[in-house]
């Protein structure tokens, strides 16, 4: 049970207005699993099935909580408030160096992610970065990168197109990379 609950909660929170409601959704999800396990077909993985139950319940719940606009959740809105490119600030905008790195990326410390995550501060920074992502980006990142669900299954669970999925994933990864950078920047000089 501990394996998935963190991600279940994170995913649920992207649909409903409060943590308390999200916790209820996770509980309902597990109950749904107990009740429906005999209907589970091994054609899809258990994980996909579980996340599917969760998103269905969280969506219903999110709509019921009148504070939440269901339209704001659809992947088609695509976080329209964001500029066309997150990377713009990293590159020279004009002149002969146009399109080149302002500050060329350095190699990160040849340390392993496991070691990096031992730093509480760093873990908190990553989690904070994920929490601040727009809901749809957080959903895709949670499933793809944290839970390791395949892109096809993610599209299936979230009912979005491959292209949408890729755009959302890209934006999420770009932002999390930016937040992680200060903790793994190797010798910068």
């Amino acid at each position: 049970m501990d394996w998935y609950s963190g991600s279940l909660l994170r995913l649920a929170m992207s649909y409903v207005p409060s943590r308390a409601v999200a916790e209820e959704v996770v509980q309902e999800t597990w109950m749904g699993v107990f009740e429906g396990i005999h209907r589970f077909e091994s054609r899809s993985s258990f994980k996909t099935w579980l996340f599917r139950i969760l998103t269905n319940r969280a969506k219903t719940r999110g709509i019921r909580e009148s504070r939440y606009e269901p339209s704001g959740l659809s992947a088609s809105s695509m976080d329209a408030d964001e500029g066309p490119s997150l990377e713009d600030s990293l590159f020279v905008a004009e002149g002969s160096g146009m399109g080149h790195w302002k500050d060329p990326p350095h190699a990160w410390e040849p340390d392993t992610p496991e070691r990096v995550l031992l730093s509480k501060e760093c873990r908190a920074a990553i989690e904070h970065a994920i929490d601040r992502l727009p809901a749809t980006q957080r959903q895709v990142m949670t499933l793809r990168d944290i839970e390791g669900v395949s892109s096809e299954e993610v599209c299936n669970i979230l009912e979005i197109s491959e292209t949408n999925q890729r755009v959302l994933l890209h934006r999420a990864r770009t932002k999390v990379r930016r937040e992680l950078a200060p903790y793994v920047q190797g010798e910068k000089t």
């Binding site: 963190g6 509980q27 490119s85 590159f91 399109g99 790195w101 990160w108 995550l117 994933l169």
Partner: protein, 103 residues
């Protein structure tokens, strides 16, 4: 100097990606969704550009880190509530009830 040489080399190759485009396409590249032609252009750029190679590595590093995030512990009250509900559910669904349908 090095940068100048790189820029020259890049400009010789018509249609090569800029560093900015590489950063924008990095997920498409990792997802394997670039066309064969774009994939080759992407790789040519990587071969010539140390900075973009680093950027790609940083992205991979980020993804690997996300995959290693330790799971949040389930809050005790959620766990308790779940176990309670599971127990009551079990009482109303004794395992034999499935078999008894055959009777």
């Amino acid at each position: 100097m090095d940068t100048n040489l790189k820029q020259k080399l890049m400009s010789y190759m018509a249609g090569n990606f800029s560093c900015r485009e590489i950063a924008q396409l990095v997920t498409d590249y990792l997802e394997g969704s670039l066309s064969l032609c774009d994939r080759i252009r992407f790789q040519i750029h990587l071969g010539l550009c140390f900075a973009c190679r680093n950027y790609l590595r940083q992205m991979k590093y980020t993804i690997a880190t996300l995959g290693q995030l330790p799971p949040d512990p389930v809050p005790p009250h959620v766990k308790e509530e779940l176990l309670k509900r599971f127990r009551t559910w079990k009482q109303s669904h004794p395992p034999s009830s499935v078999k008894s349908e055959a009777d």
